[in-house]
């Protein structure tokens, strides 16, 4: 048997045959490693998870015309949208606004891609149903009250060319469309004053096509990436100016930064606690084994050999604890993710070696002081009575 084999034999026997004591240390390391790998997994997954959550709060980018009040074409908007990674694009809703009359009252009608509006504004609450067929529209809650409309009513929407234009011609060009109220829209915002209809109905009513006033986008990407998208789009499609909705994007990144800082802080605290627990256990182990250390020294062990043996035990524990922790940590992160974000987490394979390495390093650090004190044991101890 060579020296290394016997060394391993000694440290494994020590761990195996003195289980109860070592189990405490192992437990501490495993728990520490679990929380470490779990929190790091969450740390890396939080932007993705939270990003998805944040998209519930609505659009974070808009397209407007780059030339003041003027409109832009749907084609330009399509080209701009094509520049965004499909996997990140949660929703895209083009809008065209026109003034129309219902019961003689002027109001704003918005033509949009209703599915897109639903995706970009998931917080919209509809009393009734989303329009499913031609001739159906949503009416803002406030507007519905003013007009005395409720779900199921059919009203005539009138579109007339602008007043002064009409006067010149001597006639007022008028178009009308009978629309059914399929849902009342509640948002708590200015949307409640509008009516929403599909782009097709809008074009049928107004007659003119190919104009957009605004487009709203909901993109699941971090702030810097959004910024770079906005810049790229504004450059590639000169007609369009892409702007971030700062209120949304900034609060998103603030929340993320704070959350990540919190996770980091907790991780550090947990590692410190693990270290203290391991250090305490190792100190107890060294005290408990003073006689054995004295004996080993009496048999001719050098300080370096004593350090090697205790460190060996500590690091072996660290490695085993780290391995256990890496596995449990993923389960922990998965559990947190499912319960908090209700989505599963992506497994980071690189976290296994990193968790083990960190556990070994933390254990090693924790063992430094106790192991140093082991070398101070006097071999003459073995000749003293009990």
């Amino acid at each position: 048997m060579n020296k290394r084999k016997f060394f391993l034999k000694m440290i494994t026997s020590s761990l195996m045959r003195r289980r109860s004591r070592m189990l405490v240390a192992l437990l501490a390391i495993a728990v520490g490693a679990t929380i470490l790998s779990g929190l790091v997994t969450i740390y890396y997954d939080v932007p993705r998870q939270m990003g998805a959550q944040f998209r519930n709060y609505g659009a974070n980018m808009i397209f407007v015309s780059s030339s003041g009040d003027a409109e832009f074409t749907p084609e330009a908007a399509e080209r701009a949208v094509a520049g965004i990674d499909a996997s990140e694009l949660v929703g895209y809703a083009p809008y065209r606004y026109e003034t129309v009359l219902i019961h003689e009252q002027p109001l704003v009608a918005a033509g949009t891609d209703l599915a897109g509006a639903k995706a970009t504004s998931p917080y919209w609450y509809i009393d009734g149903a989303w329009p499913a067929a031609d001739g159906e529209m949503l009416v803002g809650n406030e507007r519905a009250e003013l007009l005395g409309l409720s779900v199921g009513d059919t009203v005539t929407v009138i579109y007339s060319t602008e007043q002064d234009e009409a006067d010149e011609a001597g006639v007022t060009a008028e178009a009308s469309l009978d629309m059914k109220v399929c849902g009342i829209l509640e948002t708590g915002g200015s949307e409640e004053e509008y009516i929403y209809l599909s782009m097709e109905d809008m074009e049928r009513l107004t007659g003119n096509e190919g104009k957009l006033d605004l487009a709203e986008l909901s993109i699941s990407a971090p702030g810097e990436k959004l910024q770079s998208y906005a810049e790229r789009i504004s450059e590639a499609v000169p007609e369009i100016s892409a702007r971030l909705i700062k209120r949304v994007t900034e609060s998103e990144s603030t929340v993320l930064t704070k959350l990540q800082a919190l996770v980091l802080l907790v991780t550090i605290v947990v590692l410190l606690l693990t270290m203290i627990c391991v250090a305490t256990t190792m100190t107890a182990v060294v005290t408990e084994r003073r006689k054995e250390i004295g004996l080993r020294k009496a048999l001719g062990a050098s300080d370096r050999e004593i350090i090697g043996e205790f460190m060996g035990e500590g690091l072996l524990l660290g490695g085993i604890g780290g391995l256990i922790g890496a596995g449990l940590g993923f389960a922990f992160a998965q559990m947190v993710s499912v319960n908090v974000f209700s989505s599963s987490i992506s497994f980071q394979f690189w976290l296994i070696p990193v968790t083990i390495l960190v556990s070994v390093a933390v254990t090693g650090l924790a063992c430094l002081m106790p192991v140093r004190s082991a070398t101070e044991v006097d071999p003459a101890l073995v000749l003293k009575g009990e």
Partner: protein, 223 residues
């Protein structure tokens, strides 16, 4: 030239002279018993001979070299190479088997050799118990493991502090028989004991009192 020579060594703790100007010589192959009342300095003397402590003053010449002023690190090396230790409390590593305990000594000295360790256990009559943990062995058996461990690296001096202090009559006789055998083979033995019977079987008895040598005499009964 003697194997071990102590010249005027003293060990002083505060104002207590645990050893007071002690001089003695031990030749290769001698079997010496050190006796004396409790507190007379026997263990202190053993520590100095066993390179686990240094005298406050005086020379300790082992194998022609003064080791009294060596560093702790060098003393460890000298102890490892030249001294075999037997303890009253056996001091076996409790999580290692009998044969592994013997191998620990080989491990620090050179390389562990299981076959040799088993042979050493066979010599003290423990071939059958080699794979047992200390907790599974009787006191006498544990002491024999301790003896096998002390002998495994062929030390120049075997030091035993109260080797029979924790043993019954029967086991004491087994240990003494092993000592006799070792003496016949030429091993140098220094045994500290309270027990007159253990003292008498040695070749020479040194009696300490208050840190001084009271008597140093050949044993008439030695065969």
């Amino acid at each position: 030239m003697s194997l071990l020579e102590l010249n005027n060594i003293s060990k002083i703790y505060g104002d207590l002279k645990a050893l007071d100007n002690v001089s003695l010589k031990v030749d290769t192959g001698e079997w010496v018993a050190i006796m004396g009342p409790s507190g007379s300095g026997k263990s202190t003397l053993m520590n100095i001979i066993g390179c686990m402590d240094k005298p406050t003053s005086g020379e300790v010449i082992l194998d022609g070299k003064d080791i009294a002023k060596e560093s702790a690190k060098n003393l460890t090396a000298i102890r490892r190479d030249k001294i075999g230790l037997i303890f009253q409390q056996f001091h076996l590593v409790n999580y290692l088997t009998a044969v592994e305990n013997v191998m620990v000594s080989q491990y620090y000295h050179s390389i562990p050799d299981e076959k040799e360790a088993l042979e050493a256990l066979a010599r003290v009559g423990l071939a059958e118990r080699a794979r047992h943990l200390p907790s599974q062995l009787s006191g006498g058996e544990q002491q024999r493991v301790c003896i096998a461990r002390a002998l495994i690296n062929y030390p120049e001096i075997v030091l035993a502090d109260e080797p029979t202090g924790n043993l019954d009559e029967a086991n004491e006789n087994i240990v003494l028989d092993i000592f006799k055998q070792l003496h016949r083979e030429g091993t140098t033995l220094i045994v500290v004991t309270h027990d007159p019977e253990v003292g008498e079987v040695a070749q020479r008895t040194i009696t300490l009192e208050h840190g001084k040598i009271l008597r140093d005499a050949k044993n008439p009964g030695f065969e």
